[in-house]
């Protein structure tokens, strides 16, 4: 983010803080510190009461005493975390000054900070302000991200149909359906066709990313023969491989049949890994696809004899638009989205995807599926 893009000093007035303390006097002191800052404050005198109050009050921050009757502060914190996960408001523990062990346990339970008793008002306010600001930033970030996804999705949807038409109409021109073309005309038409084709691919990938990020990646599981799926993908990708004087070899194994997966989506992952391997393979090289089955599931690995992944660029691989500096051997285009989509698809299947350079050269991509 650019410096100029940073949000202006944030107004934290009206932000809601839930104070959990069984000591009435303490609660009053805290209220007395927080209220003048414009915070809205609610209190609870036990962990149970705090858990009950949270969903109605929906605080932006929780101040939580460690020593409480019934559920103690740590246990209450763990319950909050398991109930609300990452969306849970930040929790600051209130501890006695001497209890340094408590600090460690509190942070381990999911607390973001601690405030020692008795309070120093300025210190307490500064820490609270920091965490409220973080919370606000996180909210703004996730809203901005959702807006970006909506925009991507809308743009992709709206571009898709006209692009498909351009491609289809040029195919009719090319076929001579509407009359013969001269060689030069045909050349131009082919150019239009190829350009619209690659734009369509980009738009489709954008659409996938935005749909998947918006949490709408629907996995329609059905019993599928993985072996057949892999064999088909290898067969189809071998057509392109042959044109580049490379070949894909498949080493099969007995897989427990069938697997419950979304065939369309897994096919997309396999196609991506295979076409990538072809893309980055030098002429005359071999791509090896190996299937393995174990007690915990199965794996498919795709190994090429290309240049491998530069060490300092491995972190880019599975991120959106994470293109590396390695260039395809046949000048093919890439959007840098394919592997990001693969990762999301594999995660939706509770599987994994990983990549590593092989000691003997080339790199190996592996996907795993749980049994």
């Amino acid at each position: 983010m650019n410096v100029s893009d940073q949000p202006s000093p944030m107004d934290l007035k009206g932000r809601k803080i839930l104070v959990v303390d069984d000591d009435r006097l303490n609660t009053r002191i805290i209220r007395g510190i927080l209220r003048p800052q414009g915070y809205e404050v609610a209190d609870a005198d036990s962990g149970e009461a705090a858990l009950a109050a949270y969903p109605q009050f929906l605080p932006d921050l929780v101040l939580l005493d460690v020593v409480l009757p019934g559920l103690n502060g740590f246990e209450t914190c763990r319950r909050f975390k398991s109930l609300y996960g990452d969306a849970c408001a930040p929790i600051i523990f209130i501890t006695a000054r001497s209890e340094s062990e408590d600090v460690v346990e509190g942070l381990a339970a999911g607390g973001v900070d601690y405030l020692p008793k008795p309070f120093r008002a300025k210190e307490a306010l500064a820490r609270i302000r920091t965490h409220l600001q973080n919370r606000l930033l996180l909210e703004q970030l996730s809203k901005a991200n959702a807006a970006k996804n909506r925009l991507l999705g809308m743009a992709a949807h709206d571009l898709r149909n006209p692009l498909a038409s351009i491609r289809g109409l040029t195919e009719f021109l090319r076929d001579g359906t509407v009359g013969p073309l001269s060689t030069d005309q045909l050349d131009l038409v082919n150019n239009i066709h190829d350009a619209s084709q690659s734009m369509l691919e980009l738009v489709n990938e954008l659409l996938d990313v935005s749909v998947i990020e918006a949490g709408e990646l629907k996995i329609n599981r059905a019993p599928v023969s993985l072996t057949a799926l892999i064999e088909k993908a290898v067969y189809l990708n071998n057509i392109n491989a042959t044109q580049k004087h490379t070949r894909i070899v498949l080493q099969t194994c007995d897989l427990p049949q069938p697997y419950l997966v979304d065939a369309q989506k897994i096919k997309q992952v396999l196609d991506n890994l295979l076409s990538n391997a072809v893309k980055f393979s030098p002429s005359g090289s071999t791509i090896t696809v190996r299937m393995e089955a174990g007690a915990n599931g199965c794996s498919v690995s795709v190994r090429d004899q290309g240049p491998g992944i530069p060490k300092d660029e491995q972190h880019k691989l599975f991120k959106d638009f994470g293109r590396t500096s390695v260039r395809p051997t046949g000048g093919e285009k890439s959007t840098g989205l394919g592997l990001a989509i693969c990762r999301k698809i594999m995660e939706a299947h509770r599987g994994t995807i990983s990549a590593a350079n092989h000691p003997d050269g080339g790199c190996e991509f592996q996907i795993t599926l749980p049994s």
Partner: protein, 130 residues
Amino acid sequence: MPFTGKVLVCEEKVHLRRLLSLIVKSLGQHVLFEAADGEETLLLYQSVKPDLVLLDVNMRQRDGIQTIQALKQIDPDCLVVILTSLVNHLTAEECLRLGAADCLRKDLPREEIAVQLARIIDACFGDIPA
């Protein structure tokens, strides 16, 4: 393919209308009519009585749902195939519920649209063994 009937293509976007018409033509000797919106579709339907209507669902003037309801009132037996893309599958489901015979993804590659359309025509008009 035995089908040589009249086909009405209703699609708001000119480019898609042209593409779909060319695909329909490529499948055989059909008589082809084109409409740009629901209103035009209803008028044409009454005057030419097509055997098959390919109907866009996402139109500004009278959308697919309203059009299919009106068509079914004019002719309960009319054969309507809904044209959809990724976006409007919910509308498509509603159309199927209202009596559309099938739906056709118009955002697929040309050959795939052709294959699907041929399959639909075959299912609707193919020779039924005596």
